[in-house]
Symmetry: C2
Subunit: 221 residues, 2 copies
């Protein structure tokens, strides 16, 4: 088993070169890149749709899915530049594929490039795509116990989103447990409560992204 | 990359020996083993809690989680024999670990052994644990587009469960799309609609499991 672990590490190290190259280029360009990670159906695409409707943020999206281009279609309909990656069963995106996808996006017109990773709370957390930071998305119906059960993502994310808050009245979601566990795992991360259908909380989230995009641009040497 | 693929296949082949040994033993014993797969928070543990409350089915559970033993605790409270496996970041269960867990369960008193796999709609679908069949669990809030977006599980499962149907009135869930896509991917699989909170649909699901357990016992040579 040692041999395969070593080989896997070397393949990951190979991919980390792509991640480093992406990060270098984005730093030179002042382009913010955000890696959105969450379970299937936690509301990642709807969040990006609502984000796109907000004025004053030029964005593009790279969509990761096992199959179909439904998510890319939804965003393209809003005029968002979008590239769909189908992993054909792969459980996460990798930097070499992301770099290729970036080639067909108008990078120098953008404030932020969102990566919507494959719907999976586990594997995507372990792979560096060259992003500025990861965002952990949890939908309220998944339950308040998920941060502790899937700690790797919630520890490494720079922001946490609780989505589908419109469903809270119909759920037994323990908000105190969620707040406490999230704070324990990741004291520095802001937590945004979002209902993408009504738009509640979207403004705070977009404000956070705008601020990060502005900081990124300000740091261009 | 070829080298690592070959090595991974050989590691998987090694694990398949454990899966085959489990399957052999279960066939000799007439023990049904069911591998429950679905996203984080789709309601797998609640489904098993409600299944355990039904009379006339002697069951045990092997719980797969990245971290915590909360799910095992919930089932143990109901008197269900349960073993918790913590994968420490691993995105799926493997047969060698399941075989070890089975050692501490009263196998010869059981009708069915449920495996609650790690919450993940992707990776667990690819690993044989020696089970009789996989069950795909989708919760209504995840959305009707998921079978086509995660086709590997929905194609290979022997039954599909739509859970949290109590939330349907608050969702824009396209039931026709769900039914049609599921049928296209897997025409033979029965689809159960379940609301574990009220118990609606649990009887049909338990009836299906009882039937399969009876068939398994009847086939003992």
């Amino acid at each position: 088993m040692n041999k395969i672990v070593t080989l896997q590490q070397s393949v990951m190290a190979e991919d980390e070169k792509f991640a480093a190259a992406i990060r270098d280029r984005n730093t030179r360009m002042g382009l913010l890149m955000v890696n959105i990670i969450g379970s299937p159906g936690c509301g990642k695409t709807t969040l990006l749709e609502k984000t796109a409707l907000h004025a004053g943020l030029s964005m593009a999206v790279i969509e990761g899915d096992l199959a179909t281009d439904r998510d890319a279609e939804r965003l393209a309909r809003l005029g968002v530049p979008v590239v769909q990656i189908n992993t054909k069963g792969g459980c996460h995106l990798e930097a070499n594929v992301v770099e290729k996808a970036m080639e067909s996006l108008p990078l120098d017109t953008l404030d932020v490039l969102f990566i919507e990773n494959v719907g999976n709370l586990v594997c995507p957390a372990e792979f560096d795509l060259g992003e500025d930071f990861k965002v952990a998305v949890l939908s309220a119906p998944e339950g308040a116990d998920k941060p502790l059960k899937y700690p790797y993502l919630f520890t490494s994310a720079k922001a946490v989103l609780l989505t589908k808050t419109d469903l809270l009245p119909h759920l037994s979601f323990d908000m105190e447990m969620f707040a406490e566990d999230t704070r324990k795992l990741n004291p520095a991360a802001p937590v945004f409560h979002v209902d993408s259908l009504s738009g509640a909380g979207i403004e705070q989230w977009v404000g956070f992204i705008k601020l990060k995009a502005k900081e990124k641009k300000a740091n261009v040497r």
